[in-house]
C-alpha cells in the first residue's frame, strides 16, 4: 500500500517530530538524572526526580510510541518497505529495543519520583538507582543518535527479502 504524497508528507512530519522530540526529551532527562545524582542541594535533587517522573510518563513514553508507530506507517506506506533495506530494519529494531528498555525503566523512574515526593533524599540514598537512571538515559541518547545517523546517511544494502521483491517487481515490469 502506497500513501498519497500529501499523506506521506504528513506521516514524515509526524515521524521526524516525534523522533527528534524523543531525543530532546531524553537529553533533558539525562541532565536531570545527572543533577539528581551529583547535586548536594536537597531541593534540587527532589525537583529533579519529580520532574523526571513527569517527563518520562508524559513526554518520553508517548513520543517513543509515536516514533515507533509513525516509523512503521512511513516504511509500510512507501516503497521503502520495512524489511527491504538493512538500515530501515536496523532502525526499526533500535526503536523497538529502546522502547522496551524505556518501559522497563519506568519502574525505577516512578520509584525515585515517589521517594523524592515523600522524603528528603541524601546523596547516599538510592545510589544504585540514581546511577542506573543516568546510565540508561545516556545509553538511550546514544542509541537514538545512531538511529538518526542511519536515517540521514541511509547506508546501502538490501536484505535477501528486498532483493527477492525487487526481482519480482522487475519481472512484472518487463513482460
Amino acid at each position: 500500500m502506497t500513501m498519497t504524497p500529501r499523506l506521506r508528507k504528513f506521516a514524515l512530519t509526524a515521524h521526524i517530530t516525534s523522533s527528534v522530540g524523543w531525543i530532546g526529551a531524553d537529553a533533558g532527562f539525562l541532565a536531570l538524572a545527572i543533577a539528581g545524582l551529583t547535586s548536594q542541594d536537597a531541593e534540587m535533587v527532589r525537583a529533579a526526580y519529580l520532574a523526571m517522573g513527569l517527563i518520562a510518563w508524559f513526554v518520553i513514553v508517548p513520543l517513543s510510541l509515536a516514533a515507533l508507530l509513525t516509523g512503521l506507517v512511513q516504511s509500510l506506506g512507501t516503497k521503502w518497505g520495512l524489511f527491504r533495506h538493512y538500515w530501515i530494519l536496523v532502525k526499526f529494531l533500535i526503536a523497538i529495543f529502546a522502547t522496551i528498555v524505556l518501559l522497563i525503566h519506568t519502574q525505577p523512574i516512578s520509584y525515585m519520583a515517589n521517594a523524592a515526593a515523600e522524603t528528603t533524599l541524601s546523596s547516599a540514598d538510592f545510589r544504585e538507582q540514581r546511577i542506573q537512571l543516568v546510565a540508561a538515559a545516556g545509553a538511550g541518547l546514544l542509541v537514538l543518535l545512531v538511529a538518526v545517523t542511519l536515517a540521514v546517511y541511509k547506508p546501502r544494502g538490501m536484505t535477501p527479502y528486498g532483493w527477492r521483491k525487487q526481482n519480482e517487481e522487475g519481472s512484472v515490469a518487463q513482460p
Binding site: 521503502w80 527491504r84 538507582q129 546511577i131 542506573q132 537512571l133 546510565a135 541511509k154 525487487q166
Partner: protein, 57 residues
C-alpha cells in the same frame, strides 16, 4: 526517510554489507556484556536492590 529514491540502492551486490556485520557484532558484544554484568551482580542493578517489594504510592 523519503529524501532519496529507494531505487538508488538497488545496485548494491547481494551480500550482507560490512556495516551490518559490524553493527551485529557490536550489538552481540553489548548484549553479552549486559547479561554477564547482571548475572555476576556487577550491573548498575537498581532493579534488584530497592524497587522490588516496595509499594509505590
Amino acid at each position: 526517510m523519503n529524501n532519496k529514491n529507494p531505487k538508488s540502492h538497488f545496485n548494491t551486490k547481494q551480500q550482507t554489507p560490512r556495516w551490518v556485520k559490524m553493527f551485529g557484532i557490536i550489538a552481540l558484544v553489548l548484549a553479552l556484556l549486559f547479561v554477564v554484568l547482571h548475572l555476576t551482580g556487577r550491573g548498575l542493578g537498581g532493579h534488584a536492590s530497592g524497587c522490588h517489594g516496595v509499594q509505590q504510592q
